[in-house]
């Protein structure tokens, strides 16, 4: 029995990837949940908003790399991030002005807004492909690893290695900072409080003198920031390809709904629940058990519950179970 090596294997293949993936999902789900809580519709264009923000960041990153600007061991994309935020904010504010405001003035039903957001999704999707193309784009630079497998083995003398990519570290740190900032903003500032009031009861908020257009604008700005940051982190850690952002919409919505739509805390929890279940259920436990169990109990099969092909199915099974037994999500959301 060798619990230390078992833990290292587990960390390398399950904990580290799942924490990074969970943070990315959580940031995406926060954006979805904000729109749902305050503007009261499910924004299907969120995945492509992420792709657009990431695309602007990538274009600026390439420009910076070509003129020789770099951020030392950290990816240049972090320097380009503010430009991505601005570009994405401009796009969502423009969309709100020309599309959503019209339906808001008509007091359109949420289901109409959902369909409208689907149209917006297809337009953004096309826009991103038109500008940067449908292929994989690489824009990560700087140090690749905080600690690589080889270094870890030399350092500790253990048989198993642990790799932590720089991008995984940045993802988690950024996610924590962004979430803290968001909660501080929603709970402590005047604008944040007015947003929560608008979300709780629109008529009452209007009576107490809250300017609805301002609340809407601030919401879109925050959503653009969350989407861009999530998009850039995902692209840095994995790879930027417009189609994968479209696919990402499914686990993001699953996270938001599992946690309880409209509840920011729920979105974060949901992101991690989905990420961990996707990774752990499809993981082959043989190697971990080989270290953790006494020799005579060593498994001969792979001890894999589900083939990795079913990764996406896992999020939906969890979604169905949660909706059956706790329709408002793990943390009481506004939904349903």
């Amino acid at each position: 029995m060798d619990f230390l090596n078992a833990f290292i294997v587990l960390a390398n293949f399950v904990l580290v990837p799942a924490i990074a993936y969970g943070s990315q999902l959580a940031l995406g789900a926060l954006g979805v949940t904000m729109i749902y809580g305050i503007l009261r519709f499910s924004n299907f264009a969120h995945g492509d908003t992420m792709a657009f923000g990431a695309m602007v960041t990538i274009l600026v990153t390439w420009w910076m790399q070509s003129v020789g600007v770099s951020f030392g061991p950290l990816p240049t994309a972090l320097l380009a991030l503010p430009f991505g935020l601005l570009g994405c904010a401009a796009l969502v504010l423009f969309t709100d002005r020309v599309v959503y405001r019209f339906y808001r003035a008509q007091k359109a039903k949420p289901v109409i807004l959902v369909i409208v957001s689907m149209g917006v999704m297809f337009i953004m999707n096309g826009l991103v492909r038109f500008i940067i193309g449908p292929n994989d784009q690489r824009f990560a630079d700087g140090e690749r690893f905080i600690i690589s497998v080889r270094e870890f083995k030399q350092l500790t003398g253990l048989r198993e290695g642990l790799a932590i990519k720089t991008t995984q570290g940045i993802t988690v740190v950024t996610a924590v900072i962004v979430v803290l900032l968001l909660f501080w903003f929603l709970n402590k500032t005047r604008t944040g409080k007015s947003m929560r009031a608008y979300s709780d009861n629109e008529d009452l908020a209007l009576l107490s003198g809250i300017d609805p257009e301002r609340v809407v604008m601030v919401t879109w700005l925050i959503v653009a920031a969350l989407a861009t940051i999530a998009g850039v982190l995902y692209g840095l850690d994995k790879t930027f390809k417009p189609f994968t952002y479209f696919q990402l919409l499914l686990p993001i919505f699953a996270s938001a709904i599992v946690g309880g739509l409209g509840n920011p805390l729920g979105a974060i929890a949901g992101g991690f629940v989905i990420a961990f279940s996707e990774v752990t259920i499809t993981y082959a436990w043989k190697k971990v058990l080989k270290y953790a169990l006494p020799e005579n109990l060593e498994p001969s099969s792979l001890v894999q519950l589900l083939s990795t092909d079913y990764k996406f199915a896992v999020s939906f099974v969890i979604l169905v179970i949660v909706l059956l037994f706790r329709p408002t999500g793990l943390f009481k959301g506004k939904a349903f």
Partner: protein
């Protein structure tokens, strides 16, 4: 009324010339390859190879008494059987091609063969469809390939790995006809040679993240990871995730993974990795490279096979004295194999002369073509090893 008459006469005249054109001085040959999709980085050099052969024949002015050959390109997409079938249908019904050089990937090739080629009696010569399933597909003698079946590649792969002293490998394959066929034939060959395949798992193309797949592969373990995928798609994602997590540091790459993209993506990170793809050191390969000059990458996988596939179609037409698929399908095997004078790339004019005089040829071409069994290449492979971030040839087998 006068104007109307004049217009009618003019139209009739033009139609007449077009009609004459279509029959006496031009043969169209379809080039159906995945210009978009998972192997889009390989297909330009393949199409250029096929078109080079057609240009050579046209320039010689010797095919069926001076007929020109024009290529018509169509997109097989490599993965979308419906799109590929529609493209092939269009080639035959609207462009009126007399033969098809293609398709490329095994799945779409099988679909075109079953749905279009059989129904229209069209000859197809694929330069790169390697699925073992195509050996036994019903083809009425219409389907040939200048690429060997993967049943053969599985055996060659086993020999390469065994010679390196590797007895335990993990296998991952792209979830389609090509990947599954190759992985299964490899597993069968490797296990009967005494090796162990710890896991044989599929991966889907077009995902951003392969850490879960690599987690399963790593848990199963093995001395080397065999990646039967595509370099433009999931294959590279798997290799990237395996390197990052330290799961494997050397790999074995079958044909779909070998390309310029592999060097570009990984450089010296995959030093020591091995692989093989159809290729030969026969004099033909060097002649082909010389002939191409710098016009395109003549060593790109399946580019020489494409030249040979197109050349075989035209030589078979000459041997049969007809450009009708029903007539020349029977002469493909004759021109490809002995007896007869050996024909290398750049000697198509000579071959056409011999055939016109009633002689026999043995087409060797750029890939030492030897068609066996149901009309597929016997198979020559170039074994590669990655050294200093470059793909280098270690030997031919």
């Amino acid at each position: 009324m006068k104007k109307f008459l004049a217009a009618t006469a003019a139209t009739a005249l033009m139609a007449g010339t077009a009609f004459a054109d279509g029959h006496s001085s031009e043969i169209k040959i379809g080039v159906i390859l995945g210009f978009t999709g998972p192997i889009e980085s390989l297909t330009p050099a393949m199409a250029d190879g096929a078109e080079l052969a057609m240009k050579e024949v046209t320039d010689s002015g010797k095919l069926l008494g001076g007929t020109a050959v024009t290529p018509v390109r169509a997109d097989s997409t490599c993965i979308d059987a419906a799109a590929a079938t529609a493209a092939a249908e269009r080639l035959i019904t609207s462009d009126g091609v007399k033969g098809i050089m293609g398709a490329d990937c095994s799945g779409v090739t099988g679909a075109i063969l079953a749905n279009v080629a059989l129904a229209n009696g069209m000859v197809m010569i694929s330069p790169s469809a390697t699925s073992p399933g195509l050996s036994t597909a019903e083809d009425n003698g219409l389907f040939f390939r200048t690429a060997p079946s993967d049943a053969r590649q599985g055996v060659v792969m086993t020999e390469v790995l065994m010679e390196e002293g590797i007895n335990e490998v993990a296998v991952t394959y792209t979830n389609n006809d090509y990947g599954k066929g190759l992985a299964d034939s490899f597993q069968a060959a490797f296990e009967s040679a005494g090796g162990t395949v710890t896991i044989n798992a599929a991966h889907e193309d077009g995902k951003a993240d392969y850490s879960a797949e690599v987690g399963a592969l790593a848990a199963a373990g093995g001395d080397r990871l065999v990646v039967a995928g595509y370099v433009d798609q999931g294959g590279s994602g798997i290799v990237r995730a395996a390197l990052d997590s330290g799961a494997f540091d050397t790999f074995h790459f079958p044909d779909g993974m070998i390309g310029a993209k592999l060097e570009e993506n990984f450089g010296d990170e995959i030093d020591g990795s091995t692989g093989q793809h159809p290729g030969t050191d026969s004099a033909g390969a060097a002649k082909y490279t010389d002939m191409v000059g710098g016009a395109f990458d003549a060593t790109s996988p399946f580019s020489p096979e494409s030249y040979d596939a197109a050349a075989l179609i035209m030589l078979a037409m000459q041997a049969a004295g007809s450009s009708e698929p029903g007539d020349y399908k029977a002469t493909v095997m004759d021109v490809a194999n002995a007896p007869g004078e050996q024909i290398f790339p750049g000697e198509l004019a000579k071959a056409l002369d011999i055939l016109a005089g009633g002689g026999d040829i043995d087409y060797v071409g750029a890939t030492a073509v030897e068609l066996i069994g149901p009309g597929e290449s016997a198979g020559n492979y170039r074994q590669i090893v990655v050294e200093g971030g470059k793909i280098t040839t270690s030997k031919y087998r």
